[in-house]
């Protein structure tokens, strides 16, 4: 068990490509850190650098209170689970799990006990004498995790471990990884491109893009207060709606000018920040689909917590029933927005319905810098 500290870490390849441009991350002992981002954002490179499989061009990586920049992978007290599982194909499951122990000269008796304990935790005891080729994807995943657990490392590294599983199994294994984390209390760094995995698993999430950490915080912070347009759009499914429009003054506060068909409706903004500098200027309003809903649902939640959604009539362009909710698409300010409505309240495409905008959790972005204003 150990904390992990990454200080101004950079990675520049000999051909001049800068993959990581100064990354700073800190997690405490026992925390679950998620590195999330699209392909090519540098998340896997960072993980490989933590593992010692790639060199650090600049900066410092500390595991516990030891700088590991020049420590070889085997001495870093880490274990890694790979996307392809990387099980040794010629060895049985038992040999796969005990391989690292054997190399570390752990006594045979103890190896046997560890393998049995790990197999018991992961419910793979009946598979111990099989070769990886005879296992299903989910079973291979378990063995790969078993190999990591058997080592009892200070730090677990997961490189997109669920990407090769089918959708249902992925959800099951996600829960298992979380359970394992709760039971072992281990420190974990987990790379994924899946924002749902990031939200559900992480204590701390680092959203990355182009070698830069866009935002580092708890899942709820990142969901509610995204630092910029990229983070806001990346986290959350369906994605946050972005509306381009002007701000106007309204009473003592500000309002967003919502344009639809030929009308303009003023949506009062509840933000406490002083937005007078932005009055009359264009901004991007970010509002999540669950905060644009049908009028009836909105009134129910209004009664519950005293928010005051603004109701706007519009024409429905398209609907996507998901079961519990129906997603309704409509046009505002020249763009299409997604609204999460009650299935019975959703109009058919082409029909009229009243949508309620709840801006209590809305965010505003500067269109030029794409940073959050409020």
């Amino acid at each position: 068990m150990a904390s992990l500290s990454i200080r101004n870490v950079r990675k520049v390849y000999p051909n001049g490509a800068e993959v990581l441009k100064g990354v700073d991350l800190d997690i405490e002992d026992g925390q679950f850190l998620i590195l999330v981002g699209g392909s090519g954002c540098g998340k896997s490179t960072l993980l490989n650098m933590i593992a010692g499989l790639e060199t650090v061009s600049d900066g410092e990586i500390r595991i516990g209170d030891r700088c590991v920049n020049h420590v070889p992978p085997k001495s870093r007290d880490i274990a890694m689970v790979f996307q392809s599982y990387a099980l040794y194909p010629t060895m049985t499951v038992r040999e796969n799990i005990s391989f690292g122990l054997g190399i570390r000269k752990v006594p045979k008796e103890e190896q046997k006990k560890t393998v049995e304990r790990v197999a018991d935790i992961l419910k793979i005891s009946h598979l111990l004498d099989r070769k990886p080729a005879m296992l299903s994807g989910g079973q291979r995943q378990r063995v790969a995790m078993g190999r990591a657990i058997a080592r009892d490392p200070a730090l677990f590294l997961f490189d997109e471990p669920l990407s090769n599983l089918d959708a249902k199994l992925r959800v099951d294994m996600r829960a298992e990884i979380k359970l394992m984390h709760q039971r072992l209390g281990s420190t974990i760094v987990y790379v994924t491109h899946d924002q749902i995995e990031a939200m559900t698993l992480g204590d701390r999430i680092a959203v990355m893009k182009d070698g830069v950490v866009q935002q580092f915080g708890s899942p709820q912070e990142i969901y509610d207060q995204p630092a910029n347009l990229f983070v806001a759009g990346f986290i959350g499914s369906p994605s946050m709606n972005f509306l381009r429009g002007r701000l106007a003054s309204l009473g003592r506060g500000s309002a967003f000018m919502l344009e639809h068909e030929d009308n303009t409706t003023l949506l009062p903004l509840p933000m406490e920040a002083n937005l007078t500098a932005w009055h009359g200027r264009e901004v991007i309003l970010g509002v999540r689909p669950e905060h644009v809903t049908d009028a009836a649902s909105a009134r129910r939640s209004e009664a519950a917590d005293g928010r005051h959604p603004t109701e706007v009539a519009c024409t429905v362009e398209l609907t996507e029933p998901t079961g519990p909710d129906t997603l309704v698409f409509a046009r505002f300010n020249g763009g299409r927005i997604t609204c999460r409505t009650h299935p019975r309240a959703a109009a058919v495409p082409g029909g009229r319905m009243t949508l309620a905008f709840d801006l209590s959790k809305a965010v505003l972005f500067d269109p030029a810098t794409e940073q959050r204003i409020a």
Binding site: P14, N48, A51, G52, L53, P72, P73, K74, I78, A79, M80, F82, Q83, S84, A86, Y88, P89, T90, F99, G100, I103, R104, R147, R151
Partner: protein, 293 residues
């Protein structure tokens, strides 16, 4: 395999297919005919050869010509048959085959999984090595062996063949090992394994098909080599190919076709045997990288 190919269609013996089988049969016959002539001639007596038809079956098969070819025929001044040279060839081929394959395997492992600066240049240089004709290396190699006092020895021949074969074996192994996922090596490094442990415990056990390919390739190349054998073999380490040439070209008295045929088959037999034993790996190993996934 063959059954599967046509399993989904009804057995289709149309005129076209019949024609294809006929053609294939003819080609097979054409290729097998010389072997048949060699085999049948080798068990005939000289009288029968002179009297009879080339394609007729032997009247009274005898192994006399085989035994003469093996232990009594004259190759230049000695008349000990092919036997000593056959063992010379073995003494040269087996160590050279093992050495070049083993070193090639390590080279391939390094080039595929321990990428170092300039690895591509080294690989390209080795590739070029595959295209260097024998004749080009003869003179420098002769000077080198002379300087090392290994000229005209079996050891010298082993070294020559090992070096010349390395380009091929490295190429084979490198192309096979790039299909081994690099994550396996990464996982093993994190598990604490070093360079040789990873090779021995993870890479080597995966390598049987490509080892077979290299064994067959190297054995055939080295066994069949004539030029290096005649230049560097001297009189003590002459391989069987050189001896066969001498035997056939020794022009004292009548030409013993039966002995010549038997000798030729003896000289070719080991490569045939190794193909029969390991042949199934050959095609499998050669295509292993090509059709992955």
């Amino acid at each position: 395999m063959h059954a599967d190919t046509y399993a989904n269609g009804a057995p289709n013996l149309s005129v076209g297919r019949l024609f294809i089988y006929l053609l294939l049969g003819l080609v097979a016959l054409y290729y097998l005919a010389p072997l048949y002539v060699m085999l049948s001639t080798s068990v005939k007596t000289l009288d029968e050869i002179r009297a009879g038809n080339l394609l007729s079956l032997p009247q009274a098969p005898t192994l006399a010509a085989w035994s003469k070819a093996w232990s009594g025929a004259c190759t230049s001044v000695q008349c000990e048959g092919l036997a000593p040279y056959f063992w010379n060839s073995m003494k040269m081929t087996l160590p050279a085959m093992l050495l070049s394959t083993l070193i090639g395997s390590l080279n391939g492992y390094v080039l595929a999984h321990w990428r170092f600066r300039g690895a591509d240049i080294v690989f390209t240089a080795l590739m070029v090595g595959c295209f260097i004709p024998f004749q080009v290396v003869i003179l420098p190699m002769a000077r080198l062996l002379g300087a090392a006092e290994l000229a005209n020895t079996a050891t010298g021949l082993v070294i020559v063949h090992t070096i010349y074969g390395l380009a091929f074996t490295t190429l084979f192994f490198r192309n096979y090992y790039v299909t081994v996922p690099e994550e396996l090596v990464k996982a093993a490094r994190i598990d604490g394994a070093g360079f040789f442990t990873i090779y021995r415990r993870i890479i080597f056990p995966l390598s049987l098909p490509i080892f077979m390919v290299c064994f067959i390739w190297q054995f055939t190349q080295i066994w069949n080599d004539f030029l290096f054998g005649v230049v560097f073999g001297g009189s003590d380490a002459q391989p069987v190919t050189v001896a066969l040439n001498n035997l056939v070209n020794t022009s004292t008295g009548v030409v013993e076709y039966n002995v010549n045929m038997a000798a030729a088959i003896i000289a070719a037999l080991p490569t045939l045997v190794i193909y029969l034993i390991a042949g199934k790996y050959f095609v499998r190993g050669l295509t292993a990288g090509a059709v992955k996934g």
